[in-house]
């Protein structure tokens, strides 16, 4: 059972995940076990075995049903044709599916890595190894750009678990604190009343702390293509973890993807975000995008001491003067502007490009974001208190 069928099952699970079902490795393992238990003879048995292990909600049945019939009609044939023939594939039974379901599935299929029918044992080993947790350590210093798709998957998973603990911001609200600095008359009197007015012990309050608002501006232009999807996973993790995260992506125009990222499921969220963007992998106009942000959004999302993470390689095709001016304005309207630059992976990175030179003096710090290691370093750096600007 562990052989070819196992790999095929894994592919099926990944297809489901890409279609937005929250199926994890545990589900996959259970599915493999269940499939082994019912045996490969009857398709119907397999269907219900997989259904029992992979579906957790009533709404998910429809997607599962479609995926199953598409995928298991002839798995080997399908593997051959994956990504090529899909737009032409008809559903079994001729029924027209609800359009969005089909679109999601079609997309999930087209994202499948093109794989040969005969996977060599070595390759299979590599795939399964990279999916297991134990090898994640090896991935850490690796550049996202050089990873295989399977490794990227593992990296994405690790990234979702990465915790960034931004230092909280002092609120203007107060909370009770016996050692606080401000006298709380209301609490004092209430306590006194409880004891009949005999005992007057002063109560105190101090300022509350609240989560720091975070704003992410992520470049998704052509030069950032390889990083953008992975980094979106990172941003998703961030917005699941923190209350106040606003996320924007930009290439030639600026798109707010905050709502899209609120899906619990990573893949669903990233897909939804990608759907709302019209300019994936197009040109870059960083200055113009920042200008739009400054005009339309800065006053709405940068209140209360927000930290801005600007993720870009700084390769500007437009006027660097505009970029410098807009970056300076952005910096003035937030508490701390961090530029995350994947190009820092090169040892001899020098700020030679015009855009980089325009951006650099107008940010508070620049950090690398090309590998899990650099993200971990970022996580460390962001637990320290935010410095004050001079």
């Amino acid at each position: 059972m562990a052989g070819q069928i196992g790999v095929t099952l894994l592919n099926f699970v990944r297809l489901l995940r890409r279609a937005g079902l929250p199926v994890g490795p545990a589900h996959a393992l259970a599915a493999v076990e269940a499939a082994a238990a019912v045996g490969p003879d009857r398709r119907e048995d397999l269907y219900w075995a997989l259904h029992a292990t992979l579906v957790r909600k009533r709404e998910e049945t429809a997607i599962f049903d479609q995926a199953f019939h598409l995928f298991w009609r002839n798995p080997r044939l399908l593997e051959k044709m994956m990504g090529l023939l899909l737009p032409n594939l008809q559903l079994e039974g001729g029924g027209t599916p609800p359009p969005d379901l089909a679109a999601r599935l079609a997309e999930a299929f087209s994202h499948q890595p093109p794989r040969e029918t005969e996977t060599t044992p070595d390759e299979r080993e590599e795939i399964s190894a990279s999916l297991s947790a134990s090898t994640q350590e090896d991935l850490r210093p690796r550049d996202f750009e050089t990873m295989t798709l399977a490794e990227l998957d593992a990296a994405k998973a690790a990234m979702t678990r990465l915790r960034l603990s931004f230092p909280p911001t002092r609120s203007r609200r107060m909370r009770r604190d016996p050692r606080g600095g401000r006298f709380d008359g209301r609490a004092t009197l209430r306590a006194a009343a409880r004891s009949g007015g005999d005992l007057l012990l002063p109560k105190f309050t101090r300022r509350r702390w609240q989560p720091t608002p975070i704003v992410v501006l992520c470049d998704i232009s052509g030069s950032m293509e390889r990083y953008a999807r992975v980094l979106l996973h990172f941003v998703h993790g961030l917005s699941q973890d923190h209350d106040r995260v606003s996320a924007f992506v930009f290439g030639t125009r600026l798109t707010n993807i905050t709502r899209a990222l609120q899906h619990r499921d990573v893949d669903e969220a990233v897909t939804a975000a990608a759907h709302s963007v019209v300019d994936w992998s197009g040109g870059t106009r960083i200055g113009a995008a920042l200008e739009r942000f400054n005009k339309d959004w800065a006053r709405r999302v940068l209140g209360r001491g927000a930290i801005v993470l600007l993720i870009t390689d700084g390769l500007e095709r437009d006027d660097p003067g505009l970029l410098a001016a807009e970056a300076a304005r952005l910096r003035r309207s937030c508490r701390w502007l961090i530029w995350l630059n994947p190009l820092l992976r090169y040892e001899g990175f020098a700020p030679r490009a015009q855009g980089v030179r325009a951006l650099l003096p107008n940010t508070d710090e620049m950090r690398p974001v090309h590998s899990l290691d650099s993200l971990a370093a970022l996580a460390d750096a962001l637990t320290r208190p935010i410095p004050t600007r001079r």
């Binding site: 209301r186 009197l189 007015g197």
Partner: protein
Amino acid sequence: MTSPTPLPSSVDDALAFLTDQSYVADRALATVLFLALRLGRPLLLEGEAGVGKTEIAKVLAAGLGRRLIRLQCYDGLDLGSAFYEWNYPKQLLAIRQAEALGDAPTLYSEAFLIRRPLLEALSPQPGGAPVLLIDELDRADEPFEAFLLELLSDFQATIPELGTLRAPEPPLVIVTSNRTREIHDALKRRCLYHWVDYPSAEREIAILRAKAGGIAEALAAQIVGFVQRLRGLDLFKSPGVAETLDWAQALVQLDAIALTPEVIDQTLGVLLKYQDDIARLRGSEAMRLLTDLQAELSQKPLGR
């Protein structure tokens, strides 16, 4: 309780009511205002700064002869300053006094209560229920919004020591927001919503006539035409109606009878509040707008 001035009974009535108060409104605004008054629902007004959101509450209060109670929101606004507070020094004195006399003090009664705007708004007022203006709600933080939910849906609120207070007659509530952040859906659900936009040229000229009396028609048309053109540019902060009025005032003070590039240069700071915008407009750009405007005005005068 009947109020001396009856509420508008139709949309036309509401429009006439606003015009009487020299508030030049469009029909959309009159409609939502009428609905808010008729249904007894709070009215949430959003829009750019300076388009006259706060003014509506003032006009409403003045026109209906009600009391205007204004709660200006700010970051860190808490119940103590929005709703009620106990008078602690007075309570402490009462305790001392009770000790001396050997009484049991009554610490929680009306006598020790300090009323803040929201509590005032729930209390009966002479002349009928007051107009409660909750100004710039987006500046208060989310926890405060949550408190407003009960107040805005049932017009009641609770003081733990005294119990739940209910307004005998619901106040007329206007909530404004500049959208520096989104108001929570739960709160929006309880309100009627209206986006207050910049006025059209005709309406803005009417506003100028109503508010800056005695301004020459030709100058008014030029001022409004210029400001409207500014709003068409991609500025960091477009001038609102308030800025138009300020500018008209400034030009009258300077004895200007027509717009000239020099006068515009001198007074640009009244209209635009960001250095980038001013730098962009100063000189040739303002000149270009003005020439454009003059060409158009000679063809077809505005506001006729």
